[in-house]
């Protein structure tokens, strides 16, 4: 009994410690500017206001950055999931020389810190004439999201019994047909985890966006908001908090939609023995 209470207390302490900055962010974004620096600080705003949100949407480039981020993250996710799915299928189902070493080589690239790769990547993109575009970021993010995605999907793929695919082939499906009808539905939880991982990664990425893109038309939210609201002389706290809240909303929505898929059964019962 005591132990349970102690455990609950412990768990809730951690939850609060993690959640508090988020609460504070939301509350700050809803306070008028003059209330921010008051001593002692107010916990709940004395006056509730959404003027910061309105300012961001109407008189800054926030929406452009937001659109860029959506395009960037969605494209990266699609590209990474598509390539990783096909790659994982190949690594698991086909037997060829160097298959295992290939898989490890892929993981090895993931172990390199991205700071090391950023300059060579930048130079390559400049030479390709792709610098300063959303596409350059899609390529950059793909290079570091893909290895991990490949490994994640590979383990999911290995969990799908080969008999399922064999059965589909005997039933008259082509390899592609069997992949679409049988493998893909089984792989769905894996694909969703991978998509989520990639989306969050590209949505929050800062360093590459800072180095590779410096035109407002291509900036994603992370660098855009920093650039707009944080300068050496001044930080627009209210606007920054409002922007942060709005940046978090898409992730929360995506999670809310997909988490039920993540926890749903992995097709148990299809294959016995």
């Amino acid at each position: 009994m005591i132990r349970r209470i102690a455990f609950n207390l412990f768990a809730w302490t951690i939850v609060l410690a993690v959640a508090f900055p988020l609460f504070w962010m939301v509350l700050t974004s809803l306070k008028p500017q003059f209330e921010l620096f008051r001593r002692p600080p107010t916990f709940l705003p004395e006056t509730w206001t959404v003027e910061h949100y309105w300012t961001l949407l109407s008189s800054t480039k926030f929406l452009t950055y937001f659109k860029n981020s959506v395009i960037l993250s969605t494209t990266t996710t699609l590209v990474v999931v598509a390539i990783a799915t096909i790659g994982a299928y190949s690594l698991v189902r086909f037997r060829y020389r160097g298959r295992e070493s290939l898989a490890f080589l892929v993981l090895f690239t993931y172990l390199l810190p991205s700071v090391v790769l950023i300059i060579p990547l930048y130079l390559m993109l400049v030479q390709l004439g792709l610098s300063n575009s959303i596409l350059s970021l899609v390529i950059a993010y793909t290079t570091f999201a893909l290895p991990y995605a490949l490994w994640l999907l590979r383990s999911f793929m290995a969990g799908i019994p080969e008999d399922l695919e064999s059965a589909a082939l005997v039933d008259g499906a082509s390899r592609l047909g069997a992949f679409r009808d049988v493998i893909l539905p089984q792989l769905l939880p894996g694909i969703i985890s991978t998509a989520l991982f990639t989306f969050i990664l590209s949505w929050n990425e800062y360093l590459y966006a800072l180095v590779l893109v410096n035109s407002d038309s291509a900036r994603p939210l992370t660098t855009g908001v920093m650039n707009m609201l944080v300068s050496s002389f001044n930080i627009e706290w209210s606007l920054l908090m409002a922007a942060s809240v709005m940046m978090s909303v898409p992730l929360i929505i995506v999670f809310a939609f997909l988490q039920s898929y993540l926890t749903r059964g992995f097709g148990a019962g299809g294959v016995k023995g």
Binding site: D163, D171, Q186, G265, A268, G269, G270, K272
Partner: protein, 371 residues
Amino acid sequence: MAEVVFKDIVKSFGSFTAVHGLNLTIAEGEFVSLLGPSGCGKTTTLRMLAGLDFPTSGSISIGNRVVNDVAPGERDIAMVFQSYALYPHMTVYDNIAYPLKKRGVRKADRAPMVQKTADLLQLTELLRRKPRQLSGGQQQRVALGRALVRDPKVFLLDEPLSNLDAKLRGYMRVELVELHRRLGRTMVYVTHDQLEAMTMSDRIAVMEGGKLQQFAPPNEVYREPANRFVAGFIGTPAMNLIDGTLANEAGAWRFASPGITLTCPPLTDDAVSGPACLGVRPEDVLLGEGPIRGQVQVVEQTGHENIVVVKIADGIRLTGRAGADHVWRPGETIQCAVDVSKAHVFAAGPSGQRLNRPLTKDQPRLAKEGA
């Protein structure tokens, strides 16, 4: 024509050879079992027939057409997997309808076909369920339904009953035989269970270590096992296999081992003096009287009979079957005999050839003999 022919089939996985030069001709409409212990290459053989694995060398034909380069879906076969391999995300209906869909049967035409199959297998109530909501037996029937819904040339079944409990297995054996009789299709049935093979097959292909040991009807496999492996593998309780020596005495072959000496049944010209093995089925051991003296070690009562294990010398045991009415006691001294007319003699070694001359109908029965 749906004759299935394996010609000199070899299958290697890297340096390991799973199937060694298999030659097998399965007649149209025949029910053939591939029988052998786990790992002997049965599944590999079946997968090659299905087109899921490719032979390293040799050719496979179905109905006079070499199918080595034909995709599984175009071989006009249906297969039931040991794991059932039901599509987990599809309903029972969609599982059964899938082969039809993939072969371009129109949606409206599929429904009555699925319905008919479901009726046949008593699955009508379950058509809306997902595989994970079914019991093992029901899943097995769905897997069967997916194979039966079309009318393929050849049915391939890989240990379809091995995941069922004993009672259901017995029931499904009868059902499958009945199904085969009704459909008249060629069926290739993989099993490690000799009872299944014996009760269901027209012919049994006994395999061991990737090699075909014997291909014959069940009673022939039982009564004239081609070699020592087949003799020991088929039959429960297993055949008594006693190592000893063979010697030619004035034109007649005599077998001798500690505890037993007897005159052999007629042997072929391959018989040579030296080490050999005597095989006697438990039902051909006569308990109670005879020249062989031993001590009862174990008595297993099955209800309708007693299985009696008799020690006749150090390390040599003879298992016999006796009626249930006489109970032998462990420790008791017992006399017994061997029905020499039904005894087998095998060359030395774990897969020594059978040396008996083939049975002829009017072959004179020899008298009981022993000691």
